[in-house]
Structure formats: C-alpha cells, structure tokens
Symmetry: C2
Amino acid sequence: MNQANFYPGPSRVYSNITEYIYEAYMEGFMSINHRSEQFMELYRNVKAELRTKLLVPGDYEIIFTSSATESWEIIAQSLTVKGSQHFFNGSFGEKWASYAEELTTVTKTHFGINEKLPTGDIAEGVDVLCLTHNETSNATMVSMESMKMLRAENEGKLIAVDVTSSFGGVKLDYSLADVWYGSVQKCLGLPAGMGFMILSPKAIQQAENIGENKRYNSLVRLLENAAKDQTSYTPNVLSIYLLYRTQQVSKGIDYISEKLTNRMASYTDLFNKTEGISFLVESEKLRSATVLALTSASPDKIKEKALDRGIVLGSGYGPWKKSTFRIANFPALKTKEVEKLMAFFAKYY
Amino acid sequence: MNQANFYPGPSRVYSNITEYIYEAYMEGFMSINHRSEQFMELYRNVKAELRTKLLVPGDYEIIFTSSATESWEIIAQSLTVKGSQHFFNGSFGEKWASYAEELTTVTKTHFGINEKLPTGDIAEGVDVLCLTHNETSNATMVSMESMKMLRAENEGKLIAVDVTSSFGGVKLDYSLADVWYGSVQKCLGLPAGMGFMILSPKAIQQAENIGENKRYNSLVRLLENAAKDQTSYTPNVLSIYLLYRTQQVSKGIDYISEKLTNRMASYTDLFNKTEGISFLVESEKLRSATVLALTSASPDKIKEKALDRGIVLGSGYGPWKKSTFRIANFPALKTKEVEKLMAFFAKYY
C-alpha cells in the first residue's frame, strides 16, 4: 500500500481490514455455515449497524447479492411488471437500462450532465422508475430535492436507486425510494465481491405480489431467507463480517458525510485555481460528493506524473474517457493521502 | 480456531489464509479493478495453477460464479435446449434437479445410496446429463469408472458434474464430462463466497450455439470475458487471489488425494471396530473420499460430547438428518486435528 489509490472503482479499503480478517479467522467466521445460529447473529448484527450508522430504516429489509450488476437483473426480473423508466446522464445508468431491456420493456430518458433530473418527464405504463444517485462515470449526483419531487409526483410507482458509489459516504433519505442498491468496494471501503439491496415495505409487497420465484436470485427467495436472517445460498460471509466490523467502529454517516464535504470543498478551491484543470460538471450543485471528474488537455500525462509520485488517479470513463480523469473522495482515504494529492496538484499544476 | 471443525460445509480454511490476505492488502489486490492488467494477470495465474496442480486441461475454460447454486441456474439457462436428466441419490442432486425444473424440462432419475450410477437408464430428448460426483448429504461418490461408461454411451450429450465437495481433494478425469462446477469453501479450503465452473470445448461450443445472452450470468457473457481474462462484473478478487496463492504452494492433486485416501483408510479401520457406529453406505467403493456419513443411535449425543472436547462434527442432512453425523475429510484439516478426532472416538466409543 505504498500507493495512494484514488481510483473511483474498487478503491482504498479500510486499513484495519486485515486485523478484522485475522479476527474472523480466529473466531471461526471463515468456516461458518450460512444456516447456523452464528451466521444469523452476524446478519442481525450487520443489519443493526447499518440502521444505526447509515440510518437505514427499521422496516427496510437488507439483502446481499454478488454485485450491483446482479441488482439490475433482480429489479427487472422480480419487481417490474409493465416496464421500467431509466433516467440517466452517464455510462452506469445507461448500462442498467440496457441490462433491464433484455428482461422487460424499458423507457430511456437521457438528460445532460449539467441538467437536473427531469422529474416531470414520466412515461406511460411503467411501474418502476430507475435512477443513478451518483453516476461514477461523470461525477454527477442527483439531489435529494430532485428525488423528493420525483417521489411526490409518482406515488403509485416503485423508485429504484443505484447508490453504488455513494452509499456509506452520503446521507440518504431512504423514504424517497423503495430500492437502494450498490456494492461494498466504494464508499464502504471493503474488498470487492459483494453487493447489497435495501428494500422498502412497498418493494417487498411488490415482490410478493409478482411472486417471481424461478431463479436462484428471485427476490421472494432472497427476502424469505433474509426474514430468517439467512441467505438462499452460501454468501460471502467474510465480506458480511467485514461490513459488520467496519460499521461497528464507524462514527456514522453525519460524521463521514461532513468529512467528505470538507474534503470536497478543499478540492473545489484547489481545482478552481489550478490552471488547465476544470470540473467536468459546471454547477457545484449537480456534482457528486464522492467522485470528482476533471477535464484537462492531457489527462494521461497528469495520471502518469501522479503515478510517479505514488498517486493512482482514476481514468475517465465512457464518453469522458479521453477528456477527463477522476478522483475518488471515499471515506476510507486517509487525510495524509488527501494531503499528498493536494500537494501534488498545488506543486505541479 | 480452538475448535477442530469437521463440518462438511464451509470447513477449515488453510491456516496461511490470513498471511495471504495481508499480502493481498499490501500488494493492493483488495483495490484492483477487474479490467486492469493486474487483475488479468491474476486470472491467468490462477488458471495456470489450477491446470498444473489440479490438472484442469488446457482447453477447458475456468470461470468464477457467486456459488455452486448459481451454476445450477447457468447450466439450465445457458446450456440446455431440450431438457436435462438428473441422476441423484441425495439432497444436493435433488435440489439441483428442482432448480433446473423452473427453467427447463427435467427428468429425475433416483438411485439408491448403495447402488452404482444407473448409466444405462438414459431418457429420451435430453441434451444434458447431470450428476453429483460427491453427494455431501450422504457421503456417496460416483466412480470415474461409472462416469467413463456414461460418457462412452452418450457421445452427443453434454455431461455436467457437481464437484462442490470433491474438487481439490479427488483426482478427476476431466475428459469424462463437459461442465465441472463447485465452490471454494470445501476441499479448496477457502472462505465461502465464490463458485467456479470448468467448461470443455464442447460445452463452450454449446453455449455459443444456444447464444442465450439475456442475463447477467449468461454463459456467453461469462465466457467472452474469461477469454480476455476478465469477468463480466466485479468479482470476489480477494477469493481469486487466495485461490491462486493456496494452489501455488499446493503439492498437487496426487499428493492431496493420497493424503485423503490414507486418512480415510484410518477412519475406516477405526469405525469398523467402533461399536454402535457404522458407515451409512455399505460398500467402500461407493463411499465418498472427502466426506464420511456415519449412523448411530444417537448422533446428537456424539456431536455434543465431541463439542465438549473442541471437535465440531457435521450434522446429518436431509433424510439422514437424524440418523447420521458427518465428518469432512478435506485437505486443509491438519494431521493433529485428525489425530484428535481419532483419539476422541477411540477413547469414548
């Protein structure tokens, strides 16, 4: 770990991870059965920590998947009857729509990276509205205000939100949607290899009404098991254990969110006065709190130069691959790493 | 790890796991992107080790899944056109058939635990023959001889084999089947949370001919990515790393298989002369090499007594839940643990 890793993909993991893994080994968590009392207790504990530290409501169920990609499938397969409408301004939201299209009728609603979520633009005959809270490809974020408007105008519909790169870093108002999904390798600071879904009572009801149960990841199966604090198949127990332990020592989302906001303010100051580097997204209000996308004439050169100094910057993604580079503003990144990054830009640009 | 864990589910993990995890952390493997050169190199390396140490043929592709349960779905979804025939004598083979039934036409062929695989009993109109090499629920194992007969008589069909609790412990003749699948928490001695599939050129061809590509785990998608040493979605990189490192230091399947055979011979001697305990399966030739199922008047009492002495025995499973207890004969179990177990039975029974 000589390098400071600011890649907004799998990024820095919490530095006490190896300690917790050793603990998991010593306490036998690497060998427990997913129908055992020990596992059920762990599942109860991790749910409780997520409710306390990340404020997940008590009546929202929490389940684990293999990845956020799998959640795309589960939403289309187990929660959608007529069709889903996808609002997107970047690559991940668009990929979600393409995946869903294989299984259901999809309406694609594209909006610009400098525009708000078009909450008034609702298609006919859809039962699920899908949006990407934090679009990792271009570092935009949908505000809770926009989501509030969407919710207010669409009482009868389910709302599903991709929070892959914001869950654990940004304070969310869970009442504004029914499905919140993501994975553990971004703001949760864990090794890659597990996803999660958080489901409102309305989403649970819809899964039961539809009753789709043909698949190993059919939502009714996953929910039936989750209600017993079990899983339908052998899960990544170690990852669940690490999520539990890291949340247990977490100072909570208010603290984390403030830390990230302060860091972002410093980055904003810095890049506003750095010649040749600008934010891809013009309005601060539309920018992500957890990822920065910055334009420059030669992102590759900047990345190379940074790498020489032990700093890994993220490449651009999709349409912004060549014109931008990205920086993760994830909670597990250390203050000294952030300072190193700031010093690098202050000195060389 | 004060307890010796002989549960034939997730069982003992290799004791150098925590060391390799620390290594993975220090080398940044917990934070790598699954499209990066570092990941592709890891994937190439793990494939190479599995070919060297477990003798997986060079023209068989190796892919990773979330679990063996997911492989049930993938076989039915992406490799079966007309239907699949399932030979089973226990719970896991039967569950596989039930899962497959949701997606395709299934013929169920039950055989007794004291009978050989009924290789002559082939149904009309099936394109995939499915069998459980090592049935963990009752500790039976299908011999390579039976599989040879099945293969010889069914040239036009795919053969899919569940090796969840034998892969890494028993020497397999891969030429006798087209799909070999399982998971890492049994004979591979790793923490739970990842499955694998090994696919013959014929299976790959069949996946391409069928071309099913609607799912996040559609086989053509998985294979397309595997051919580039990538995965279609963020995988459990840490588990792949651990598989690589443990195989790298492994003495190979001949050594491991001999070790397990010797241990099984000692167990057989012991239990043949232990009053009140008998093997569930009468013929030694039909018994599993990696799991023991033993009948007794009071399995619960034996398990309790063992637990008092720091030994975890496995419960019976399915129809044999009350009448048997089980013992894992997995490679990661240490000689001193095996000796402790033998001493326990020699002394108390």
